[in-house]
Structure formats: structure tokens, C-alpha cells
């Protein structure tokens, strides 16, 4: 079983290309979008480290405590998590228990993999839909967090909704690829 840790960094390796031309085009487009989001998330990660360091420095050396750094960091890291989840899925980096893979006959295994992708897709699509309704409520009702800084909650909700939607699209492409690929992927 893989634990998803970066044992063999695959620099530049992209996701598997579907056989179907239209799917391959969508997949390539998604890959571009995913790469851009990962770059954005890299910046967000460094920004978060800077923000938290700034808060220590400003409190300790300038006796000026900040009240926004925790929420700003949470928002940024929520963004990093959801924005990159489709990218991780694109090369199947979300870990699972693959103990059955070697025990099942090849055809049964192919059916299993198809259903795993299909059910994952249904779940992520449902989650994405509910995230958008959550975002809509927060936006229309002007919801904020309960702190004194009180930033609007639609910011993290929108990132969660966008990220989960992208993940659902990624899974849709992968599920369709499983159904249309001439050669069964291992």
C-alpha cells in the first residue's frame, strides 16, 4: 500500500493520458489549470509561513499583537488543501488500500476500479454541490467568523466549493477514461 509520501519524486510527470481524443484534450486543460493552482498554492504556503513569523516578531519585538494572522493562515491553508486536491487526484495521489488488486482476476479488477472511481465521483460531486450552497448562504447572508477580526466566510467556502468541483471534474474525466480506454490501465 502506498502512503502517498513522495518516495520517488516524479518531476514533470503528468497524469495518465486518456485514449479518447476529446477526453485527452479536457485532461490536458485540467492539467494546466491544476499546475497553475499548485503554483498559486506554493506562494500561499510561503505567505502563511511569513504571516505566522510576522505575528511572533510583531508581538515579541514591537509589543504589537496581531489578531488576524490565525484566520488569514487558516483561509490560505484551506485554499491550498482544496485547490490542490484535484492535482493530487490527477496522478492518483490520494492513498487507498490496494490489497485486493493482486488477488482479483484482471477483468473483475477493472470493474472494481471503475466502480471505485464512479462512487468517488458521485461523492465529490455531491460535496461540491453542497459546498456551493454553503457558499451562497454565506455570501447572501453576509456571514463572518465569530472573531473580532470577523472576515467573511464566503472566502474559504468558495475555495472549498471550487476545489471540490475541480476534483469532481477530474474524477469524471478519469471515470470516463476507464470506460473508454482501449487498453485497461493497471
Amino acid at each position: 500500500m502506498s502512503h502517498g509520501f513522495d518516495l520517488q519524486p516524479q518531476a514533470g510527470a503528468g497524469p495518465a493520458v486518456p485514449d479518447n481524443a476529446a477526453l485527452a484534450a479536457v485532461s490536458a486543460l485540467l492539467d494546466k489549470l491544476n499546475r497553475a493552482l499548485v503554483k498559486l498554492s506554493m506562494l500561499a504556503l510561503i505567505m502563511t509561513a511569513l504571516v505566522l513569523t510576522y505575528s511572533v516578531v510583531s508581538r515579541y519585538f514591537f509589543s504589537a499583537p496581531t489578531d488576524w494572522q490565525d484566520e488569514a493562515s487558516v483561509f490560505m491553508l484551506v485554499g491550498v488543501t482544496f485547490f490542490c486536491t484535484a492535482s493530487v487526484q490527477s496522478y492518483r495521489g490520494h492513498i487507498g488500500i490496494e490489497a485486493l488488486a493482486s488477488l482479483l482476476p484482471r477483468r473483475v479488477n477493472a470493474v472494481r476500479l471503475f466502480f471505485v472511481d464512479l462512487v468517488s465521483l458521485l461523492f465529490c460531486a455531491f460535496f461540491a454541490w453542497k459546498s456551493w450552497t454553503l457558499f451562497y448562504e454565506a455570501w447572501s447572508e453576509g456571514q463572518t467568523t465569530s472573531s473580532t477580526f470577523a472576515p467573511p466566510l464566503w472566502i474559504p467556502y468558495s475555495m472549498m466549493a471550487a476545489g471540490m468541483s475541480l476534483l469532481a471534474i477530474q474524477l469524471l474525466v478519469q471515470t470516463l477514461a476507464r470506460a473508454t480506454n482501449k487498453k485497461e490501465a493497471s
Binding site: 500500500m1 502512503h3 502517498g4 509520501f5 513522495d6 518516495l7 520517488q8 519524486p9 518531476a11 499548485v38 506554493m42 504556503l45 510561503i46 502563511t48 509561513a49 511569513l50 504571516v51 505566522l52 513569523t53 505575528s55 511572533v56 515579541y60 490565525d70 493562515s73 487558516v74 491553508l77 484551506v78 491550498v80 488543501t81 490542490c84 486536491t85 492535482s87 493530487v88 487526484q89 495521489g93 490520494h94 492513498i95 487507498g96 488500500i97 490496494e98 490489497a99 485486493l100 488488486a101 472494481r112 476500479l113 466502480f115 471505485v116 462512487v119 468517488s120 461523492f123 465529490c124 455531491f126 460535496f127 453542497k130 459546498s131 450552497t133 454553503l134 474559504p156 467556502y157 472549498m160
Partner: protein, 449 residues
């Protein structure tokens, strides 16, 4: 349907979905959502995303990517190799000194990086070839690194402990401190075994040589001048200062654990820029992308595990299961043994993060009722989960070793690891008999709870 039957159904559904091969994060979400649909009010499905967000949006949990960034920054630089070489030049005179150097390097690296696989690959990449070149048997060399790597989740900062602190509602600072004593105990046990085993292999090599056989590299003398020893220090000291600085910031009350994570990540990036010239976007990109890959995967599992426990608690499954365990009236230590056995079995299939979040609501109330200190239990559970990282069939560190030393047969690696698993088991027994090994340091520094 009563709560225990529902619980059994929940557990069975989880097993089926997980073993289907579905990614753990989605599997937990699918099971939780299905049970919400069938057994909870219809409106609960409307708040599913809000539940996940509210559980995840904790700065303690979200500091995990920053701890991973710090580990990746140090792990992907040559710091591991330098650390190992420096310790080796200073310890090579001691019998089995090379083995000890590897154990020490693993411990120090683990304390900086906080991840077992990262420690294994950073120290093992230099340590395993060097130990084999000096005549150590491949299994022994692999065993030292696999076991040394597990110190990564015991010595602070440890991602596993962050999750335990959140799940058990315990102080993270106290938990981090409680890991230090047992960490040192394991280092001592591993180092002691390394000396014993190296001497045994040395004597065997000597006997073969004296009997007219081949001269093993074990019998060669190695010498480092004082100048060579001193020259190794400037590359290592900054990282030791980082390690100490971050701890001082945390325990001196200068920074919260999440601020420590941010500060540590930034300092690690600054250090690798100064010491190794790693600062260009091209150099930083693999570090950041590995961090994002690992933390996204982990945080999604964490978010869905929290949803999974929320459903378990709403349907009173966790409470019923906890009451059922309490109702069995097991003696205190039998209860602990049964629970730890369960953790070991889970360790066959699941990463520590999922084990903690999925089992905490069930196992912690009975343990608390039986009078166990939950900080102490967190440490014992961590050591047991460390064993899961190196025992077959799925010990993650075994695969890391396979990756860095592909020519050592898996059978040799596994046999090499067995003595270390036994030592860890011995450490768990010692912790049970002398809980002070773990609790003394936090009590001294933060006061008795």
C-alpha cells in the same frame, strides 16, 4: 436498530468500502454520507460541508502543511548526509560507532523533520551504503535505518501527535514534551543493540579472517583528524540551532504551536538557502510541491475522518461502543493490551492519522475511566503505531528502505527489523511500568496536571 448493531454495520461498511481500494479520504466520506442519508434527519446532509469545514478550520490542524514544509526543506537538502557524516567522524572510535551515528542522526533529523519516511530516506541514503561498505550485514544496516526513522513521529514536532492532541483534547505542548523521554529511551535501546550486534559481527569477521578467510572491512581501521572533525561542524550547527531555537520559541512562550510551525518552516528555508544555496524557484519547487502533495492528501483524510467521527458520535455509536468496552469490566492492563492490539491491527492497513481520528472517540473514554493519563497513552499509542511503520506486511519504512537500497532482499530487511520491533515492544513495557519516562519532563517544565 440498537446503537451497537448500527455500529457494527458502520464498521462493516467502512471495511468493505476501504478494501474496495477507494482512496481513504473518499471512502470515509462515502460511508459517513450514506449513514447520514439513511439514519440521520434529512437536513443533516445539508450541513455536511459546514461540518467538514468547521472541524478542519483549526489553526492547529492546519499547521500540519508548515511542519511538512520544514521537514521537506531539510529532507530534500544534503543536511541529512552532512548530519550523518559529522556524527560519524566524532563517534567512529566507539565499537559499533557507525551504527550509533546512524541512530543519532536519525533521531536529530527526526526532531527537525517530523516525518518517518523523510528521516529514513535522508539518513539511509548515506548511512546504509556506508554501513555496508564497512562490513555491516545488509539486514542490520536496513534495520537501523527503518527503526531510527520511526523516531520521526515520536520526537517533536510530530504530525501524529498534533492529531492526537486535537482528537484527545490534550495540550500539544505537553504531548510534545512527553515524547522526548521515550524518544531518548528508544535511541538508547537502538544504539545499545547496534553496539551489541556490531561487536558480534566484528567477532565473526575476525574469526573468519583468523581462520584464513577473507578480511572483512569490519577489521579495517578508520581515522579522522581533529581538523576533519571540526570542519564538519559548520554545516550541521545551523540545523541544531534551528532545532533548539524552535523548541525555545515554543516552550519559552514566545510562539503558539502553529506560529512555531510557520517560524520553523521559514527558518528551514532560510537555512538551506544560506548553507546549501537552495533559494531559486527552480530549487524550491520540488520542496514545495512535495509538501503540497503530502499535506493535501493528509488534510483531506483528516477532514473526512472528522466527518466520519461526527456521524459516529451523532448516531451514538462511539458512546455505545465505549460503554460496551467499559461494560466488559476488563482489568486496567488487559483493557490497555486489547486496545493496543487493535491499534497494531489497524496499523496493518491504515496510516496513523486515520487510526487516531477514527478510534479516539471509542478508545479514549474507557481508558480515561480506567484511570490512564491520556498524555501518557498518546505516547504509548505513538510508539505502537511506530511499530506499524516497520512491521510487515505494509510497514511504510520498509518500502522506503527498498527504495534507497533496492539490492537488499525484502526478507533481509524484515529480519533486520525484527530485533528493533522487539526493542520497541520492550520500550512500551518500560513505559507501562515507569510512566515517568514520559510524564516527568512535561510535569517538570509545565507543572503537574
Amino acid at each position: 436498530m440498537n446503537e451497537l448493531t448500527l455500529g457494527a454495520l458502520y464498521g462493516a461498511a467502512t471495511l468493505v468500502v476501504m478494501f474496495s481500494g477507494m482512496p481513504i479520504a473518499f471512502a470515509l466520506g462515502v460511508v459517513a454520507t450514506s449513514f447520514m442519508y439513511f439514519f440521520m434527519p434529512a437536513s443533516s446532509l445539508d450541513t455536511i460541508t459546514q461540518n467538514v469545514y468547521e472541524e478542519m478550520a483549526s489553526i492547529t490542524l492546519l499547521s500540519i502543511p508548515l511542519f511538512i514544509l520544514k521537514g521537506a526543506a531539510i529532507g530534500k537538502s544534503p543536511a541529512g548526509k552532512d548530519l550523518y557524516s559529522a556524527i560519524h567522524t566524532w563517534l567512529h572510535k566507539i565499537p559499533g560507532g557507525l551504527g550509533i551515528a546512524n541512530v543519532f542522526a536519525c533521531a536529530l533529523f527526526a526532531a527537525m523533520a517530523g516525518s518517518s519516511p523523510a528521516t529514513c530516506s535522508a539518513i539511509g541514503a548515506a548511512g546504509i551504503p556506508e554501513m555496508r561498505r564497512r562490513g555491516y550485514s545488509p539486514g542490520f544496516a536496513a534495520g537501523i535505518i527503518a527503526a531510527g526513522g520511526t523516531l520521526g513521529i515520536l520526537l517533536p514536532p510530530s504530525i501524529t501527535m498534533i492529531l492526537y492532541a486535537v482528537a484527545a483534547e490534550q495540550s500539544l505542548g505537553r504531548l510534545f514534551l512527553a515524547g522526548i523521554g521515550p524518544g531518548i529511551l528508544l535511541v538508547a535501546l537502538f544504539a545499545g543493540y547496534a553496539v551489541y550486534r556490531a561487536r558480534k559481527e566484528y567477532r565473526l569477521a575476525l574469526a573468519i579472517y583468523e581462520g584464513g578467510g577473507e578480511k572483512s572491512p569490519y577489521l579495517e581501521d578508520e581515522h579522522f583528524t581533529l581538523r576533519q572533525k571540526v570542519e564538519m561542524l559548520p554545516r550541521v550547527l545551523p540545523f541544531i540551532i534551528l532545532l533548539i531555537g524552535v523548541m525555545v520559541a515554543l516552550y519559552g512562550g514566545l510562539a503558539t504551536p502553529s506560529e512555531t510551525a510557520g517560524l520553523g518552516a521559514l527558518l528551514a528555508l532560510v537555512l538551506i538557502a544560506i548553507v546549501y544555496g537552495v533559494w531559486r524557484p527552480k530549487d524550491l519547487s520540488p520542496i514545495l510541491s512535495a509538501t503540497i502533495k503530502e499535506s493535501t492528501m493528509l488534510l483531506l483524510i483528516i477532514g473526512m475522518s472528522l466527518l466520519y467521527s461526527y456521524v459516529m458520535s451523532y448516531l451514538h455509536i462511539s458512546q455505545a461502543a465505549a460503554n460496551w468496552v467499559v461494560g466488559m469490566h476488563l482489568s486496567k492492563w488487559l483493557l490497555l493490551a486489547v486496545i493496543l492490539l487493535m491499534v497494531i491491527v489497524f496499523g496493518f492497513f491504515l496510516p496513523p492519522v486515520s487510526i487516531i481520528l477514527m478510534t479516539a472517540p471509542i478508545i479514549l473514554p474507557p481508558l480515561k475511566a480506567a484511570g490512564f493519563d491520556l498524555i501518557w497513552f498518546g505516547i504509548v499509542m505513538t510508539v505502537v503505531m511506530e511499530m506499524g511503520l516497520i512491521h510487515p506486511p505494509v510497514g511504510l519504512n520498509l518500502f522506503v528502505i527498498k527504495n534507497i537500497a533496492p539490492d537488499i532482499p525484502l526478507k533481509d530487511v524484515i529480519w533486520g527489523v525484527v530485533p528493533f520491533v522487539l526493542l520497541m515492544f520492550f520500550a512500551v513495557l518500560l513505559l507501562c511500568v515507569f510512566p515517568g519516562i514520559s510524564t516527568l519532563l512535561p510535569d517538570l517544565i509545565m507543572g503537574v496536571k
